[in-house]
Amino acid sequence: MTSFDRINSSSIDTQKEINFIFNGQKYRGFQGDTLASALIANGVKLIARSFKYHRPRGIISCGSQEPNGLVELIHKDFREPNTKATTIELYEGLEAKSQNSWPSLKYDFMSLNDKFSKFIGAGFYYKTFMWPASFWEKIYEPLIRKAAGLGKLSYNKNERVSEKGFLHCDLLVIGSGPSGLVSAYLAGLSGAKVILVEEDFIFGGNLNNETSDDSKTVAHKYLRSILKDIMKMPNVRCMRRTCVIGMFDHGIFGALEKLNQSKIDQIFWKIKSKKALLCTGALERFIPFQNNDRPGIMLSASIRTYLNRWGINNFQDVLLFTNNNDAYLTASNLISSGVNVVGVVDTRDNPKIFDSRIKVFQGSQVINTRGKLELKGVDIQNKEGKISFLKCDILGVTGGWNPNIQISCHTGVKPVWDKKISAFIPGKNNVSTHLKAVGSANGKFTLSECISSAEKAVLEILNDLNFKLEKYEIPSISPENIDIDPFWYVQFGSERKWVDLQNDVTVKDIEIAYKENFRSVEHLKRYTTLGMGTDQGKTSNVTGLAILASLSKKSIPEVGTTVFRPPYVPVSLDTLVGHAHGKNFKPTRLTPSHNWAQENGASFTESGLWLRAEWYAKKNERNWRTTVDREVNAVRNSVGFCDVSTLGKIDIQGKDALSFINKIYCNGFAKLPVGKVRYGLMLREDGLVMDDGTTARMSENHFIMTTTTVNAESVYRHLEFCHQCLWPELDVQLISTTDAWAQIAIAGPNSRKIISKIIDPEYDVSNEKFPFMACADITICKGVRARLFRISFSGELAYELSVPTQYAYSLISYLMEIGVEENITPYGTEALGVMRIEKGHAAGPELNGTTSALNLNMDKMVSLKKDSIGMVLSKREGLHKIDAIKLVGLKPVKTDNQIVSGSHIFNLQDKIKPENDLGYVTSSCYSPTMKSYIALAFLKNGSERYGDKVKISNPLLKKETYAEVCNPVFVDPTGDKLRD
């Protein structure tokens, strides 16, 4: 039988033939097929192997509830594991293969497990593999891990990109079956903004699965016509191939849209909806009986779907097993299209027969099946207990229906049990969103109920949203009757009866779990792995619950409910990332000097989001150290410059700016005169150091605060908090101007020479007129506005010059021109770091959020006479321990011994034990100025230990050296250079 014999169907285009490959073999299907339908049409029944016992498995369903039909989809440059054949839209050249089987699908080595199933039932591993302990990682676990797992991951080289987006609407309709269509149509008529999403690649849901027999013709006509109208409505956005994966807080839904003809592969939408309707229909239940997992055993309504939607009738002898009327519809449809229906095995004693052509085995059950790789036949047992064999190659099973309620549980609302249909329906009072379920998703299974419940719900919603609905028409539809008689599983027999096909959870497993006191639903799930597979228990959870209920002689709602969590269907992680991967993981921030630095051979380093010049290597230089030493020497001996624009710059203005700043810093600012800069120490309210920097008073009410690069954002937020939340009465304006100004540090004995060459004549930068810690608004190069601060991070005579960002490039080039005779040298962050260590300035490693002013030897700075953030709690006992660690300098006993940052410090005679731990090295470098390695460290009682020798222990790198404790300021401790 080939895929070419199909009875006619509107959902496939038999003119458009599609070639595809499955497990290396070529097949043909049609436009409109899924991989599953095409395989079934080609008579392929064996598709996969199960997770634990590697049992042969075939397709049982026709949607995302499929537990068996998982394949690996093979693309040019990557593979998609665990893909459900039932959801793959067939395309030309599609290639797929089975997973979890070796050497082949037919002969799978691991199916040995099946033989030992007795010994590896639920939770067996918790009770063994314990002896000897060392064997777990070495032997048992590797074996288990090798056996476990389904598909394989591959490097993803997908050229087609993922994007993300955000949509808003009044009403989100999830699902385009009968209820969804009516909902979207009526809401659309009212003018409301509607989004209609459909997981499938065609709209219509169940409409595509049924024949329009007399009872349904009217309804189907109507539904097809409104579908056409909806498509034309400008206020209705129809999105197919779009699956809502979850409902989140405040009416936000996550939805994944697949695009097949676009450079964009998929878009992950967040949809903010005022109201939402769940029109996701219902999922057919399976019935556990002995060996109910053979290829050829399917869900009854899915068979009907393959017949009606995909025109597949290549079944030989079909038997159906049911506890409700739906199976008879499947039977009739099959018979009408020429398939031999062996009969319907009905658990009910006297079911109403609709179709005289159907042979009925009433009050009977299927108790076992035969056939290895494919179904050959079944044993049934009638009321009297008489067992007989029936030959068949397809067995359709239906245990009734579960409303597809998963999404309604995502915000933590538990479903409720509906006795009438013996199934769970969505819980009410869904506080955090306004989701309503209608139609089958709400347990209203018949077409007439679907349409009427949708109408009712939409009218309520439109009323709430104040949309008026003009007149509309809905035809009256004759009600049907499903008449279900709860039947959960076949008692007969001791062989395995599968509840969860993918994870190989059987009735027996549930019995064992119960026996061992795993009686809460959650215990059951976790112990047996029931419903933990990629199908998320869509076909198994409720059945498992029912079995647990019958074991504990309780009603199902008494036993508990199963709460579903997002996502509704598994989604690949790249969907949730969109554009933000690789280099785009985080945006890159460039400094004003970036282009110049690039042209001048800088190498760059990440510093937060920034890229900063690390150093400017010259051709002949041996290594980075040579370069950095040169840069440092240049500054110490003549002059160099460095882009420090990444420091946070906050413009503080207003009448009360000064008193505000005085509350922010713990040291006094009240007396800061115009034209002066001051170092400020910022504490958190808990009294520990938050950040440090300088603040300059440019004019009466205008201040410029600088923060460290890392804390720029958090300090700004902190200031806004202090202003808006603590002291709103103050007249202060805060503006972050980090991007507007390029700030260039010009440092070294010759820096004043350089400044004099560019500053406009009317300004005087002599030491007298512009002393250490002076600042001013100036102009340079004939009128370029600029700001000059005489501050120094390096300890040399130094300035920081700010110009509007767009002048940075040109200014730097100009500095290089005029600085030739001083051999002006650009330096990077590394040299900057070396010089600040030489000068004993605290930076990131010292301001690590756990250090107090005392630790930094700055406790005298904290003014107790004023209100400032952190002052009060900085007085706590713990922040004034007698043996508190203090910032110190370290000189290695042998100058060429490196002192590695992160090493811990011990007294010479002490053992390396926690109780002897005296502190740690925070920053270290080679100091070309001291001609030695040096370091900064926190050391207990540090300030009293200058001159002492200590042990610098680094067991991690198996290093130990000795160093002498000293003043952290290595260069110019008296600060003369700064002032001359």
Partner: protein, 181 residues
């Protein structure tokens, strides 16, 4: 006007990218300032503002413009001004009424026009574009970059103003997305 011999990088107006649906232009001819009203000066500030710019203070989340200037509401009593006037004009005018901060060169503005713009912004920002009308401005983030977005003509012309340090990142993001649409 400055007649110095340092050359600012001028990002005037250049077209960065065009296709049948969208056009991306860099549009930077003006000085940029933030203007922050001082405490308890509202009435006087509003009066002077109207006199100086020729339009009244923009309401919350709105912007005003004429041939010389655009004024964006950025936060309560705070505005971003793109204008031909220079710092001295502003300081002299608003002396004591407002704090002025020169941001020229600190921000870069991208113009996005074309019928594809709605579908572009769906993928860039989270607000409801249905209600984002001509004359509206928001401060938000695009791909983790803080920026202003304003609507000159609904569904047609929008502007993104972004910090200069992020402008390369923003630029490549916009170009990439336009290429896809």
């Amino acid at each position: 006007m400055i007649k110095n011999f340092l050359k600012p990088n001028l990002y005037r107006s250049e077209v960065l990218m065009v296709n049948d649906k969208l056009k991306l232009t860099l549009d930077n001819s003006r000085n940029i300032f933030s203007l922050n009203e001082n405490k308890d000066e509202t009435n006087k500030f509003n009066r002077i503002f109207k006199k100086f710019f020729g339009f009244s203070v923009p309401e919350i989340a709105k912007f005003k413009l004429n041939d010389n200037s655009i004024a964006l509401w950025s936060r309560t009593k705070s505005y971003i001004i793109l204008t031909d006037s220079n710092l001295d004009d502003l300081t002299s005018t608003f002396d004591g009424l407002a704090s002025i901060t020169d941001q020229t060169g600190g921000w870069l503005s991208f113009k996005i026009s074309g019928k594809g713009s709605i579908h572009l912004f769906e993928k860039l920002i989270t607000i409801n574009l249905e209600n984002f009308n001509e004359g509206n401005v928001i401060r938000t983030s695009i791909g983790k970059i803080n920026c202003f977005v304003f609507c000159k003509k609904k569904g047609e012309t929008y502007y993104i103003i972004c910090p200069v340090s992020f402008s390369n990142a923003m630029r490549s993001r916009l170009i990439q997305l336009i290429e896809l649409s």
